[in-house]
Symmetry: D2
Amino acid sequence: MKNTIGNQLTLTLFGESHGEAVGCVLDGIPAGTEIDEALIRSFLERRKGAAQISTARREPDLFRLVSGVRNNRAEGTPVTVLIENKEARRSDYDKLWNVPRPSHADYPARLRYEGFEDLSGGGHFSGRLTAPLCAAGAICMSMLEKKGIRIASHILSLHGILDEAFDPLDPAEQIDVLKGKSFPVLRAAAEERMIEAVKAAREQKDSLGGILETAVTGMPGGIGEPFFDSVESMLSHAMFSIPAVKGIAFGAGFDFAAMRGSEANDPYVIRNGKIVTETNHNGGISGGITNGMPLIFTLAVRPASSIGLPQKSVDLETMQETELIIEGRHDPCILHRAVPCAEAMTALVLADLLIQRYGPAWFREG
Amino acid sequence: MKNTIGNQLTLTLFGESHGEAVGCVLDGIPAGTEIDEALIRSFLERRKGAAQISTARREPDLFRLVSGVRNNRAEGTPVTVLIENKEARRSDYDKLWNVPRPSHADYPARLRYEGFEDLSGGGHFSGRLTAPLCAAGAICMSMLEKKGIRIASHILSLHGILDEAFDPLDPAEQIDVLKGKSFPVLRAAAEERMIEAVKAAREQKDSLGGILETAVTGMPGGIGEPFFDSVESMLSHAMFSIPAVKGIAFGAGFDFAAMRGSEANDPYVIRNGKIVTETNHNGGISGGITNGMPLIFTLAVRPASSIGLPQKSVDLETMQETELIIEGRHDPCILHRAVPCAEAMTALVLADLLIQRYGPAWFREG
Amino acid sequence: MKNTIGNQLTLTLFGESHGEAVGCVLDGIPAGTEIDEALIRSFLERRKGAAQISTARREPDLFRLVSGVRNNRAEGTPVTVLIENKEARRSDYDKLWNVPRPSHADYPARLRYEGFEDLSGGGHFSGRLTAPLCAAGAICMSMLEKKGIRIASHILSLHGILDEAFDPLDPAEQIDVLKGKSFPVLRAAAEERMIEAVKAAREQKDSLGGILETAVTGMPGGIGEPFFDSVESMLSHAMFSIPAVKGIAFGAGFDFAAMRGSEANDPYVIRNGKIVTETNHNGGISGGITNGMPLIFTLAVRPASSIGLPQKSVDLETMQETELIIEGRHDPCILHRAVPCAEAMTALVLADLLIQRYGPAWFREG
Amino acid sequence: MKNTIGNQLTLTLFGESHGEAVGCVLDGIPAGTEIDEALIRSFLERRKGAAQISTARREPDLFRLVSGVRNNRAEGTPVTVLIENKEARRSDYDKLWNVPRPSHADYPARLRYEGFEDLSGGGHFSGRLTAPLCAAGAICMSMLEKKGIRIASHILSLHGILDEAFDPLDPAEQIDVLKGKSFPVLRAAAEERMIEAVKAAREQKDSLGGILETAVTGMPGGIGEPFFDSVESMLSHAMFSIPAVKGIAFGAGFDFAAMRGSEANDPYVIRNGKIVTETNHNGGISGGITNGMPLIFTLAVRPASSIGLPQKSVDLETMQETELIIEGRHDPCILHRAVPCAEAMTALVLADLLIQRYGPAWFREG
């Protein structure tokens, strides 16, 4: 399905970085759903990143809901988000066309689109396409919040600097702390050190990688499907659509490799009359299906591939090796900008799974 | 789509561990594709695991191709693999029904299917369902091999014991070494230590986790789609359908977190007149699309949740905490059994992407 | 998706006429749904046709539910129906391979599958594949009946002999009359004349076409989607999968061509406190969505293409024109056998649309 | 999938009649495909209808290709067509909201969207949504034309006035005649009488139904899939998304009902060294798959439901019967406007099927 994702709630993404517009069509939002434009704006704002450490391109990101919404309510028909590109500057990028930027989409895109692709600013591969993803996710997020489901992501590590991890049994208070933060880190000391590292990387014309962690509270148990539509399958499919994500792990993730079954299993116990697990190594999912505990997963985010340092590459026309210096705007760190994307895609996937399980009307009930 | 995966090449999975049969329908295999029954058998054999360290259940796993194949050639219509359950023993498991096994699907499945699920031996959630996955994957594997594409997985680590990693630039010889191994490890010393660890775990009625690594050579560049059908999205979606997989990482994966862009980027160079990358930290994928380098990814596999040790759980009827001892067969290690599954799902995903890119006839060309 | 149809309730079809088996996988049946094996048997029985006028092949059509059902209840996992071919006789058909039967799938299938297709008895194109369709439809039918939704089809015309049409405002009593009939015609006199015409056609080694009419009562209004998933789109998509169906029309259908808007519109009125339409020219659907009135549609069914008379054809090997006499079994009339197929596919489509609208739990509510 | 159709070539439709815009996202157009804006304009022009007999609303229908196109070539990424609504006049329609127009979507949409729908001018159900369908179809049409595949529709009958039918064996010259006609009828005398009938209907504040016929030449044989993705299934699914279409029939269609097999079958013969059929009663499709002969099908189009005459309806608030007079713009005939829609949807479906069969590169070959 290429640029469409989802089953009962589908998202179709379109646009190029320096074309006329980027946007998306979100189909399957139950009629009557409240559309919170302020929440959309706040997602877009966070995606742009804190000014002092992010890209120089300052698109206003004014979104228009060109269909599917009337009087701040979803009509039940496709909701289209359109974000015009005000500051498109194709010329900046033209010289790159024959010298692909290392670890960018340039060269694979050339093989895929055979020279017809628009690579200005990454074209359709640009991080700019995450703006409509965030807008769509914000709409799903308000649906979930009405049902008591909360989602938050933070920077768990940045170039080795560690934040505190989510409490896998009860991350509710941590989620509170993160609300609305443009550089979402739980411990102030870690945040400070991370920002310093980012600034240093900018000085060095380099970029830094890290790990994001996402927590979801309030998810009912019994959501997801065995095998191909497991919650893990659906979430991972969606997460790898966020540029620079190169890994995902649920619960203990790669730490399971050194564990025994007796350590990795989460025993069932009764707390306050409800069945819960005593630990939550499995990140709220067993057999691909939610068990009612918080969902916890991490994403490996590679350093942004656009850096100002000179790099080796190849001229595709002359087939000669050459040195490349990428002019223009670079983000020394994209982790904080990926945070609203991770939250948005999580919201989209969970809303879709919940519609499939309970029907669209469930979101309108008390 | 629940139990169906794929776009032009689709796999629909069915069956329960102790029902009449497990099987799958593989639709979209190009007419004329040679069906190599010996390769299917070898996948099923490897999935059953080496006798001395795996489960006592010894199903013959005799598969029947009940549709879509004539004279060892795909007819172009759906290929159905049926594997009857000869040794189904529902009674062994009935007592578990009200005391869910920790970190098994039992409790989530109860919430999902509301008491109508068949949990004998895991029912539809059983690892037994991976037998038809392996059969389907074997069919795709022979298609790919004819086009010079090779896939192999091995146990990169088992409870901390490390095998040698794939050479990300050229794993071809390592793939040769692994061919047909029932306990696929590259270094003999590591293999020996791993097997000892597994035997010890069996003594202790416990189980061990680990990491699998997969390499693919010969993949053309330009395969995959930006965003939702990226190679990473498609592979991860498929991999999380393998029971016990809790994480996936491409190339450097979670190690990217401590890298700089200047370290993480793979510079383009010319070697033997062809464009390649000098390093392959990105596992052969940039922007979600193959770049012509080997695909490399790892899977975190949690220790099998079925263990013989007593565990805490809850009686769902009385809502009392209780102790559970799981009788019956347990695998102290499922990593080697997950290897053909990982290879199979990789083959399925790549064959589907290649059909979409080049059309079904491509697989029949020289 | 080739051999898979449906969104939340999907059907995957497999098998060949003279292969090992035909069958299907029905995925998405809500857990706990009662599986009425007697109803499945009755659908299969009706599909085989009344003995005196149908094909000589007398397959017992013993179906096995090899997955997804336990104690006559759906488990919620894929339900697989397997029907082994007991009387497969490949040899009867081999000589046809190079001389395609006019208006059969033989020649198009040769172009599609390039010589690898199995054409014995029509292979995957055989009417025999409708047996699993009927079994799947029977399962959906019992779901619908529990919710007060009833479906019936009858032979509206056979080679010009007309039955009485359904009362578009209230066909309930007519549906009663048809229940379980193996040659479903409303008026006894028409039935008699039709059967005579069929017998005469058999004498003449020829076959006859006709029209089926289907009525559905009890459908709630508001089901379906504008544009691509309109009830008309979904039903027609499904109906054309029944071999020999060459046309579909909703309500007044092709008679609309001679009507004025003032005649064709169905005015809203109040009857017994409920909004209904005074006429039902539109067959219960406006804007692609049900309006609460009975669904009414007709299917044009071409005469079976297998006839005993000599026909002109071409030898594909020698590229010479030749005369073809098709040996073996021929149905002079397939209309009555298409009736349970039409009912089955209608049930499948409506159950899928209802699950999407109300969620799977709706089918379990009082 | 609600507002998305297609497999490898997908179309997602959005917008409301009196909202900000209507549009669509067309995904899967092979990179490098020439985008012929003049052809798009001509489709939109024809869809608006000949001025003297069509609706008073004169939208300029200026389309923008806001993504996926650069230098008149498809980039290979999603092509988005945006048509802003310049003449949106919500107020005209507000009074209708509680008195549904007979045989319009109003009442079913109320049941479906529970009061949140936008019904101004039909909202998402409006015929205006066919503008982006036509634009998308025009893009597919130029792809097909480059491969020698031609599509044309005409008004076969209008309120009983008959045009000449397509020659099912060779409609090429008739297709030439129709090219670019805004009121596409083959025989001038029929055209004249039809236009008079339309004018009379307008006088009478009424509307007229009719039948469209579509022909396709140059389609290779072997396209389509048995059962659910038959050419008939795919085309019918698409055609019923055109508002007012209530029936579809392939080849002889409902006339098959009075035919014998010996009359209905199309014998194979050799002409100019090629295998063709001597007749073409089956409209170029057997077993759901093209046989290389022209595709021929007809659509029943009901009279437009918007008429100026007073009609009976019900006030949904007071639940009283009432009389309704629909103010505003009405089309006495929509047949000629449906013609480019039928051509467009045909082009979309066939391009999708061809991409699946031959791969996207086929469209770029000589």
